[in-house]
Every structure is written in structure tokens, then in C-alpha cells.
């Protein structure tokens, strides 16, 4: 049973600071190790980190880009973390995100045509985003229902759904949903109508940060509230902690499992929908940087806690964003970022190592995520 995993229940500063101490030290240690690796490979760690920080926080534009990167990470990280809270491993964020994006794009560019009227933004945007969430919820709910009612493991099914989603979206973007502009050479949708676009926060050129980022923060708070302040959230967490006890307590475990995966999928779908409506204004079959797997790392780094996920997402977003400047200044391969991220995750998770190095004694309950594959 988790004891101190609910944030906001702090009685005093110490109790509030303590859970942060080890993760902070873990991150610092990982950064130091990363610096050692860069040094060993002949690079200049100080210049590298300077570049990383400059690129992620060093100017308003950099901060804006970091927020842009962090937004889908927050949503996708919440998706995976939410599923973990329910005792489920959602590897399918990638596919759910794709469907969310495709649906939002469809509503964005096609709906005015279908209805033969233009739509005001306050209707069009929620519709587009809502459809994205719905699509993600369905795509996540299917493996959830399969697990609940047939026992089929969600790990396999979500991995399979990822590939199926990939093929379906490829088909759609190369075929029925393809931008008909004769000069278009790419597999992408037409641009969505202006009424479906989420505006940027500032009207400054080069600052792309948009209201989707604010939405992400709000959704994180919403998820916290859902998990800790509602009956549904309690049921989800109970099923996650001990499905047998939940069943004997009268909770409909099958229903909860399905709902958990559906909500998780909706969050991932939201990530895709926001990217389409707030950033790219279309969906393109492009080179994605693997949000699905980054989301797992972010959820774990944030200890499956919504606020932790926000911080982890911003951290990851900053690293990905700042890597460009780091490479620009030092020509160090951006793969080093992956190594540092792995080390961060490692040290955060294996806090025994950190405690050993820094001689800290923290009596915090270990968050257990793996319940094995048991149905």
C-alpha cells in the first residue's frame, strides 16, 4: 500500500521536501555521470551543459520551445502514469496518440465542409480536441476491455495496437485523408480550418508556446483530483494496488480496468490532438521521436505522480530541446542525451544507490509498478 504518494498532504516542510531530495540528487548524479562520459569521449562537458541550458532555458524563445516539447510529454506521461496507477502497463501511447491526432485533424479540416457552414472557434476547437480524446479512449479502451473480459495481456495488445494504428494512419494519410493540393508531395492531411486552431500564448513571432501547454498543466491537476478526490479514482488505485482485495470490496474490477485504459488512451489521444490543433495545424506522417517510449520513462521518472510527471516532462522536453544547441556548440552526438536520461531514470529508481552515495536515510514507501503479468 502506498503511504506517502499523495502530494499536497504535507504536514511540514520536511515531509514535503524529503520525497524530492532523492530524485533531485539522482538527477544531479546522472548529470555528473553524463559529464564524465562526455569527458571520457573527448568532449567538453561544461560547454555541453552550457549549450543544453542555453538551448532550453536561455532565452524566451528557448523557454517557449521547451514548453512546446513538454506539452505532449505531459499528456503522454500522464497517460502512462494513470495506467500504472491502475496496475496496467500502457505501452500503446504511441498508437493512441496517432489516432488522436488523425481524428482531430479530420474534424479540423473536414467538419466545416460536411456541415456546409463555418464554425466558431469555441465550438470547433472543443469538437476537434474532444474527438481526439475519444479516438484515443477507444484505442486504449479496446486492449483494456480485452484484458478485463478475456484476460488478454495489455502489454501484447497495446504493442499490437501500436502497429495496427501505424498502418491505419499510414493508409489514411496516403489515401483518403491526403492533402489534395497538387504540389503536395507528403503524406499529410490538409491544414485544419483557422477556427480549429488553438492560439499561441503570445503574439510574438518565434514563440510558439500555446494554450495547449496551460491545458496540459490543468489536466494534470484534474488527474490528481480524479485519482485522489473521487470514488472512481479510489477504485482505480485500489484495483491497481490489489485487484483481489478490490474485488472483495465490491469493486467491479473488469469495469475499472476498461475505464482505466480508456482514460489513459484519452490522455494519449489528447497529446496527439493538441499537437495537431495547437502546433502543426495538420497531421503528417512524419518522423516522430517515439513519444510512446519517452512517455514510459517520464511516467517512471515522475514516480507515476501527476505533478512528478509535469516536472519530468519539462525536464525531458528541456533536454530534447536543448540538445540542438548543445550539438551546435560542441558537436557532441545527441545520443548522449539518451544516456543521461537513462542514468537519471536509473538513479531515481535505484534510490538505494543514491542513498549509499550520499548517506541519506529516507523511509519512503517504494512505489510498486509491476504486478507481474497476472490477470
Amino acid at each position: 500500500m502506498q503511504r506517502s504518494d499523495e502530494p499536497g498532504s504535507a504536514k511540514n516542510l520536511g515531509q514535503w521536501l524529503n520525497p524530492l531530495l532523492v530524485p533531485l540528487l539522482a538527477i544531479v548524479t546522472a548529470i555528473i555521470c553524463g559529464g564524465l562520459i562526455i569527458q571520457a569521449a573527448g568532449g567538453d562537458p561544461i560547454a555541453a551543459y552550457r549549450g543544453l541550458i542555453q538551448g532550453s532555458f536561455g532565452s524566451p524563445q528557448a523557454l517557449s520551445e521547451t514548453a512546446v516539447w513538454a506539452t505532449p510529454y505531459i499528456f503522454a506521461g500522464l497517460a502512462v502514469a494513470f495506467a500504472f496507477k491502475g496496475g496496467l502497463f500502457n505501452i500503446g501511447a504511441e498508437g493512441q496518440l496517432a489516432f488522436g491526432a488523425v481524428s482531430a485533424a479530420l474534424i479540423g479540416y473536414a467538419l466545416p465542409g460536411w456541415l456546409h457552414t463555418s464554425l466558431p472557434a469555441y465550438i470547433h476547437i472543443p469538437l476537434a480536441v474532444g474527438c481526439g480524446m475519444l479516438a484515443g479512449a477507444i484505442w486504449g479502451g479496446i486492449p483494456g476491455a480485452l484484458k478485463a473480459y478475456t484476460g488478454g495481456h495489455e502489454v501484447i495488445n497495446t504493442i499490437m495496437m501500436n502497429y495496427i494504428a501505424l498502418n491505419i494512419t499510414s493508409f489514411l494519410l496516403n489515401g483518403p485523408m491526403r492533402d489534395p493540393d497538387p504540389l503536395n508531395l507528403s503524406a499529410r492531411t490538409p491544414e485544419i480550418a483557422p477556427s480549429a486552431r488553438i492560439p499561441p500564448l503570445f503574439n510574438i513571432p518565434d514563440m510558439r508556446v500555446h494554450w495547449g501547454f496551460i491545458l496540459a498543466l490543468l489536466v494534470a491537476v484534474l488527474i490528481w483530483w480524479l485519482l485522489w478526490k473521487t470514488t472512481l479514482g479510489f477504485e482505480i488505485r485500489t484495483v491497481g494496488a490489489n485487484p483481489d482485495a478490490a474485488k472483495y470490496a465490491g469493486i467491479n474490477v473488469k469495469r475499472i480496468i476498461t475505464i482505466t485504459m480508456a482514460i489513459s488512451g484519452a490522455l494519449a489521444g489528447l497529446a496527439g490532438a493538441i499537437e495537431v490543433t495547437a502546433l502543426n495545424y495538420r497531421h503528417e506522417l512524419g518522423f516522430s521521436s517515439g513519444y510512446g517510449f519517452d512517455a514510459i520513462a517520464i511516467a517512471l521518472l515522475g514516480k507515476t505522480n501527476p505533478y512528478g510527471v509535469i516536472l519530468a516532462a519539462i525536464l525531458f522536453g528541456a533536454m530534447r530541446n536543448g540538445a540542438t544547441r548543445m550539438q551546435f556548440l560542441t558537436q557532441i552526438p545527441i545520443d548522449i542525451i539518451s544516456v543521461i536520461q537513462a542514468l537519471m531514470l536509473l538513479f531515481v529508481a535505484a534510490d538505494a544507490i543514491i542513498r549509499f552515495i550520499y548517506h541519506i536515510r529516507v523511509d519512503e514507501e517504494r512505489v510498486v509498478l509491476t504486478r507481474g503479468w497476472g490477470g
Binding site: N167, L300, A352
Partner: protein
């Protein structure tokens, strides 16, 4: 062994093969087509099988390992690196270099597995995290080193990849390989043969030996096993490392048997498919192998339908769409798993760190 599951899988594979034969018969003889598809199936299934065996050893002992992908990638890189060093720097001839490469790959697999074991068993880090760490770490390290060593004038090898000593040779089964056309099936490279052999060996070891019994005990009821005097921690460590060796061999397939070069992230998600194969096979070697064969056959189907694209009759025009065919293996897996076979039963103590 679940014969019903086997029968269904065999049926599915026969359907896939049959479809291609019927379509392509005007261009190539059925025997040629079947042989070629079997060859493709085995080629695709080899790393998947070995990855699934890795997962199997780990999980039968109670340790969840999702780091198979990273382990195979790391093994592929370091095995390849070792073979290059032997061949180019130390000037050994090709075969010994390749063998050293395979050994290096296996050991690398064991090393990554050891890391996972230390994290999961001793530090009781959540096993999902441990596996994720290995995946990210392996991708980062191999990409980083690949760049540092071989790219650009300032790198260790000054921008030139040294000649790799080729790939492992094809071995021939003496009489069977001489049969015209289908003899091709009996010419296989060592790792492909090892994969099949290891499936049989693992089946025997896990279910018919004392070691296997202890392993399963540790994975189902560690406390009871402990009471009877089995060293739970030691059994888990050893099985995870053996699993690592399996994944290491799987990694060697990519750079020492299939082709002789390394590319960043070349495992491309196959480690996760292997994981799925293991679950699909209900944690049994033959089950996992059959799942791997389904994936192999499905990929063969996909390649061959494109190959015979122009011969597909209009009634089956949907098969011309590579995306429709592309999603077939995955859809099939889901259907078979949930529709026909249903609940998979993992080892009871899978994923739970053991507290003495």
C-alpha cells in the same frame, strides 16, 4: 504443451502460405514459393525466438524483463565491434573473428542482464523501470559509441568503418540439403539452428530437470521454495543471466549472421515483439517459438504479396494495399490471443521482488 493453440497457429500459417502460393503460382512453382517463405519465416523468427527465450528464463524465475530490446541491441553492437577488432586490428582470419564476436555478443547480453538482475533482485528496483533503463541506456550507448568510433575524421577509426569479417557461414545438413528446391530449408546459419535447438533444450530444462523445477518454484512460490532450501536469490540471478545469454545470441544474429554492419537502433522494436511472443506462448518455449513463427510467416506474407503484386486478382485487390497486409500479423496475434486462446497465466510470483 497446448496442442489446440499449436493447431490454430499451424492452420493460420498454412492459410498464409497457401494464399501466396495460389496468387504466385503463375510466376513461380509452389515448391519454390513455399521454400522461400519458410526461409523468410525462419530468418525473421530467429531473433524473436531468442528474445522470447530470454524473457522466458527471466520470468519463469520471477523477474519481469522488458529490456530484451536493449539487451539485443547492445549485444549486436559489441559483438560486431569485437569481430571487427579481431579481424582488422589483430588480424585474425574471418571465422575465429566471427566466433569471438558471437561470444562477445553473448557475454554482453549476460552483462546487461546482470545489470537488470542487480537492479531488480538486489536493489528491488521496480522491474519495469529496470528494463526501461536498459533499453534507453543501450540505445544511447550504442548510438554514441557508433558515432565516436566511426564517424568523422576525428573519430578513432578516422571515419572509415573497418572491414567486417562477413557473416557466419551457411551450414548444410548432409543429405537433406541436396534435395532440389526444398533442400534450401536445410541450409541454415548457425544462430538460426541454435535458436531452434535452444527451444527444444529449454523445454527440456524448464520442465524436465531439477534445475527447471527449482526455477519454476522460485517463480511461483519463492517463499515455499526458500523453506525447502532453494536459494531464491541465486536461482533468480542465474536464470536472468542465462536469459541474457539468449538475448545476446539474438543480438548476434543482427550483425554477425544477417548482415555484417551495425546501424543505430537496428533492432527496431523486435525485442518487444519477442516479449509479446513469450506472453502469447504462455511462457513456454514451444509456445513462444510458434508465436515467433507466426510473425515470421506474416512478414513473409507481406513481402511476398508485394512481390506478386501484379498477380493479385481483382477480387482480392485489398491485398495489394501494403498497409492492409502490414497490419495482418498484429491483428492476427490479437485475435488468436484473445479470441481463441484467452487467458495467459504467468508465473505466480512474476515481478515481485523477494524479501527474505
Amino acid at each position: 504443451m497446448d496442442w489446440r493453440r499449436f493447431a490454430i497457429i499451424l492452420f493460420v500459417i498454412v492459410i498464409m502460405f497457401g494464399t501466396v502460393v495460389l496468387i504466385g503460382v503463375s510466376q513461380n512453382s509452389p515448391l519454390v514459393i513455399i521454400t522461400s517463405m519458410i526461409a523468410t519465416t525462419i530468418a525473421v523468427a530467429t531473433p524473436l525466438t531468442l528474445g522470447a527465450l530470454c524473457g522466458l528464463y527471466c520470468e519463469r524465475a520471477g523477474v519481469v524483463n522488458i529490456g530484451i530490446e536493449g539487451t539485443m541491441l547492445g549485444a549486436a553492437f559489441f559483438g560486431w565491434l569485437a569481430s571487427i577488432y579481431m579481424n582488422t586490428i589483430f588480424h585474425f582470419p574471418a571465422m575465429p573473428s566471427l566466433i569471438v564476436g558471437v561470444i562477445a555478443a553473448i557475454l554482453t547480453g549476460g552483462l546487461f542482464a546482470l545489470l537488470h538482475a542487480v537492479l531488480s533482485i538486489t536493489f528491488k528496483v521496480d522491474q519495469i523501470i529496470g528494463g526501461t533503463v536498459i533499453n534507453i541506456l543501450a540505445a544511447g550507448i550504442t548510438g554514441f559509441l557508433n558515432r565516436q568510433l566511426f564517424f568523422g575524421a576525428g573519430s578513432v577509426f578516422h571515419g572509415q568503418i573497418p572491414n567486417a569479417p562477413g557473416v557466419l557461414p551457411t551450414l548444410r545438413v548432409p543429405f537433406l540439403a541436396d534435395i532440389p528446391i526444398i533442400g534450401r530449408i536445410f541450409e541454415q546459419q548457425p544462430i538460426a539452428i541454435s535458436a531452434i535447438a535452444l527451444v527444444i533444450i529449454t523445454q527440456f530444462v524448464i520442465f524436465n530437470t531439477r534445475w527447471g523445477l527449482r526455477t519454476r518454484a522460485v517463480g511461483e512460490h519463492p517463499r515455499a521454495a526458500d523453506t525447502v532450501g532453494i536459494n531464491v536469490i541465486r536461482m533468480r540471478y542465474l536464470n536472468v543471466i542465462i536469459g541474457g545469454f539468449m538475448a545476446g545470441l539474438g543480438g548476434a544474429y543482427f550483425t554477425l549472421e544477417s548482415i555484417s554492419s551495425f546501424e543505430a537502433n537496428m533492432t527496431n522494436g523486435r525485442g518487444f515483439i519477442a516479449l509479446a511472443a513469450m506472453i502469447f506462448g504462455n511462457w513456454t518455449p514451444f509456445g513462444a517459438w510458434s508465436a515467433a513463427l507466426v510473425f515470421g510467416a506474416a512478414q513473409a506474407l507481406q513481402i511476398n504479396l508485394q512481390f506478386f503484386r501484379t498477380l493479385i486478382p481483382p477480387q482480392l485487390a485489398v491485398l495489394q494495399n501494403s498497409y492492409v497486409v502490414g497490419l495482418a500479423p498484429y491483428l492476427l496475434t490479437m485475435l488468436i490471443l484473445t479470441g481463441l486462446i484467452g487467458k495467459t497465466i504467468p508465473p505466480a510470483a512474476d515481478g515481485k521482488p523477494y524479501e527474505k
